[in-house]
C-alpha cells in the first residue's frame, strides 16, 4: 500500500504507554487512531517481564508482565483501534508526518493530526560505563539476558556476576538462580541500591546472593570469553580502595546500570531534550516543544512501575484528543518548573496558570532521605510543604498541585522550584 494515508492520531510504540494512550484517546472521542509497533507483538517490554507484581495499582491484583499487557491489548481490541505490528517508524516530521515501513504495507507516510511518541527505553551498555580490561564475550545487559531466557528459552550462562543493582539485574539474579545458574554477587557503585526493597529481599536475600554496596568492577579477564571479574570497593569519591580486590570466576557478567529513554526520532527533528531525564521536555499536557507531538512512558522518563506508565499514557491520549478537538488552550501565564536541593529531576518542565489543578509534579530524589519536607516554592516563596517520612531514589514521587492558589504571582515571570528540606 505504499503511499500516503491520513489519521487523526498516530501512536508510535505499542507498549504499555502507547496502548493506554490509544484507549484514552478513543474514550475521548477520537476514532481515527493508528498504533505502529515495530515488534511482532503488542505489549512492549512487559512481554519479557514474566515475574509477578504488576498491576497492584491499576487492577488491584498481582499479575505477571504479559498478563498486564494483555489487559491493555484487550481494551484496544474491544474498541476496534487499528494497530499495525512489524511496522517500524523511521521518521516523524515537525509537521506530523509519520513515515513507517512494514513488510505488509511497504513504505507509508501517515499525515497525522497529532502524534504520541511512546518508544520506551533502552539499557545502558558497557560503553556507557567504561570498564577497563579486555573485551571478551559473555558480557551483556540484564534486559537482553531476560529476553533470551524468558522468550527464547536460552540461558546465557551458569556462573554469573551482576554489575548494578537496578531492578532488572535483581530480577535476573533470581531468575537465573531458579534455572540452575550460580549468581555469585551483585556489585553496586553507590552506597545504596537503586532497586526496590522488595526485589532486594525476594531476589537476593532469599537465595543468599551477596550485594556488594560501594563496589564496582575493576577488571575483566578473559581472552575470547569472560573468565573472571575483579571487584573492588570504592571510597566516597568513587575511587578504588587498593588491596581489597575480590576475584570471581564467571562465564557471564550482566549489566544492570540504568535505562535511558529511547528518542532517536524526536532528537532527529530537534525536539527540545531534558538534560537530566534524557527524554523530551514537556509541559503539563505532555506536549513536547513541537505542538501536537506528545510523549509518555519510558521514552519520556524511566519509570519503575508500569502502573504509572499506563496512567501517563492515558494523560497523553486524553490531551492529544483535546489538541485535536480544538486545542489545548495553554495560553495563560507560563510557570517554569525546576529542581533544587536533593531533587534529581522534576516533570513537567513547565505548566500554565490555569492548568494548576491538572498538574501533577513527578520527580525523583538524588539519594535516600528520612523525615524531611518537600518544599514547593514559586519565585522563592513557599506555596506547598509536605512532610515525608522517607524518600528513595528508586521511587518516583507524585505531587498533585490541585487547589494551589497562584493568582497572586500572575504578572511576574513565574518559576516554581521543588526541593528537599532537611530539618
Amino acid at each position: 500500500m505504499n503511499g500516503t494515508v491520513k489519521y487523526d492520531l498516530v501512536i508510535v510504540g505499542g507498549g504499555s504507554a502507547g496502548l493506554a494512550a490509544a484507549v484514552a484517546a478513543y474514550d475521548s472521542g477520537i476514532r481515527s487512531i493508528l498504533v505502529l509497533e515495530k515488534d511482532k507483538y503488542l505489549g512492549g517490554i512487559l512481554l519479557q517481564c514474566i515475574h509477578n507484581g504488576f498491576g497492584l495499582h491499576e487492577f488491584k491484583e498481582e499479575m505477571a508482565g504479559p498478563e498486564y499487557a494483555q489487559r491493555f491489548i484487550d481494551q484496544v481490541k474491544e474498541r476496534g483501534i487499528e494497530c499495525k505490528t512489524n511496522a517500524m517508524v523511521l521518521d516523524i516530521t515537525p509537521d506530523r508526518k509519520v513515515h513507517y515501513s512494514s513488510l505488509e504495507d511497504g513504505y507509508v507516510v501517515v499525515e497525522a493530526g497529532a502524534v504520541i511518541c511512546s518508544t520506551g527505553c533502552s539499557e545502558r551498555t558497557r560503553g556507557a560505563i567504561n570498564i577497563p580490561g579486555t573485551r571478551p564475550s559473555g558480557i551483556l545487559t540484564a534486559g537482553l539476558a531476560q529476553r533470551y531466557l524468558n522468550i527464547e528459552g536460552y540461558m546465557v550462562g551458569k556462573r554469573v556476576f551482576i554489575l548494578g543493582s537496578g531492578d532488572i539485574g535483581l530480577i535476573m539474579a533470581r531468575r537465573m538462580t531458579l534455572e540452575g545458574a550460580k549468581v555469585l554477587g551483585v556489585a553496586e557503585l553507590m552506597p545504596y541500591s537503586n532497586g526496590l526493597n522488595r526485589n532486594i529481599v525476594q531476589c537476593l536475600h532469599d537465595y543468599n546472593i551477596p550485594l556488594y554496596l560501594h563496589h564496582t568492577v575493576k577488571e575483566i579477564i578473559g581472552k575470547d570469553h569472560i573468565e573472571k571479574v575483579v571487584i573492588c570497593p570504592v571510597d566516597d569519591n568513587l575511587k578504588f580502595i587498593e588491596g581489597q580486590d575480590m576475584t570471581f570466576e564467571v562465564d557471564t557478567l550482566l549489566l544492570s546500570v540504568g535505562l535511558l529513554p529511547n528518542n532517536p526520532l524526536l532528537e532527529k527533528i530537534g525536539v527540545r531534550m531534558h538534560p537530566k531525564t534524557k527524554g523530551p521536555v514537556v509541559n503539563e499536557d505532555l506536549e513536547t516543544s513541537i505542538p501536537g507531538i506528545f510523549a509518555c512512558g519510558n521514552s519520556l522518563h524511566v519509570h519503575d512501575l508500569v502502573d504509572f506508565v499506563s496512567a501517563e499514557g492515558r494523560l497523553a491520549g486524553k490531551n492529544a484528543a483535546r489538541f485535536l478537538n480544538g486545542g489545548l488552550g495553554d495560553d495563560t501565564a507560563v510557570i517554569d518548573i525546576a529542581p533544587l536541593n536533593g531533587i534529581g529531576y522534576v516533570l513537567p518542565s513547565l505548566t500554565h496558570l490555569d492548568s494548576i489543578d491538572d498538574t501533577v509534579l513527578k520527580f525523583r530524589v538524588k539519594q535516600p532521605y528520612n523525615n524531611v519536607y518537600i518544599n514547593i516554592k514559586v519565585n522563592g516563596q513557599s506555596v506547598k510543604r509536605l512532610k515525608k517520612p522517607y524518600l528513595l531514589p528508586a521511587e518516583m514521587e507524585n505531587i498533585p498541585l490541585k487547589g494551589l492558589e497562584l493568582q497572586a504571582f500572575a504578572g511576574d515571570k513565574m518559576e516554581m522550584t521543588v526541593e528537599v528540606e532537611e530539618s
Partner: protein
C-alpha cells in the same frame, strides 16, 4: 537474632527478631505481621516458563496460582521444568494441577495461539 527488611511498603524498615520472637524496628503493625509470617511460614509466588509446542513461540510464561512455602521453591521449579504445554493456551489455563500436592496450580500468564 534475625534481621529482616519489611517489604509491605516502600519504606523498607529494618526489623530485628530475637529468639523469643520479640520484634523491633518496625514503624507500623503491618511490619510486625510481616516479620511473624516470615519467621513462621514464609511463602513466595513463583514465576517461570515452560516449553510450549506450537508454531509461534518457544516458551510460555507461567506462575503459581497462590504463594507456595519458600522451602519448596526448587522442588516446584523441577516440576515446572518437566512440564510441556501445547498451543493454543490462554491466560490462567492450568498447566500443572495441584503441583506436588501443595494445593496450588501452575497457570499460564500469556495467550499463545
Amino acid at each position: 537474632m534475625k534481621e529482616l527488611i519489611c517489604i509491605v511498603c516502600p519504606r523498607g524498615c529494618h526489623i530485628s527478631v530475637d529468639e523469643n520472637m520479640n520484634i523491633s524496628g518496625n514503624t507500623c503493625p503491618r511490619g510486625k505481621e510481616y516479620a511473624i509470617n516470615e519467621m513462621t511460614h514464609p511463602t513466595r509466588m513463583i514465576t517461570s516458563t515452560v516449553v510450549i509446542d506450537g508454531m509461534e513461540l518457544k516458551r510460555l510464561p507461567v506462575m503459581t496460582s497462590a504463594p507456595i512455602p519458600k522451602d519448596r521453591i526448587f522442588d516446584v521449579m523441577e516440576e515446572i521444568n518437566k512440564a510441556r504445554a501445547k498451543a493454543p493456551v490462554k491466560i490462567k489455563d492450568v498447566i500443572i494441577k495441584d503441583v506436588l500436592g501443595l494445593g496450588v496450580d501452575i497457570v499460564a500468564t500469556r495467550n499463545i495461539s
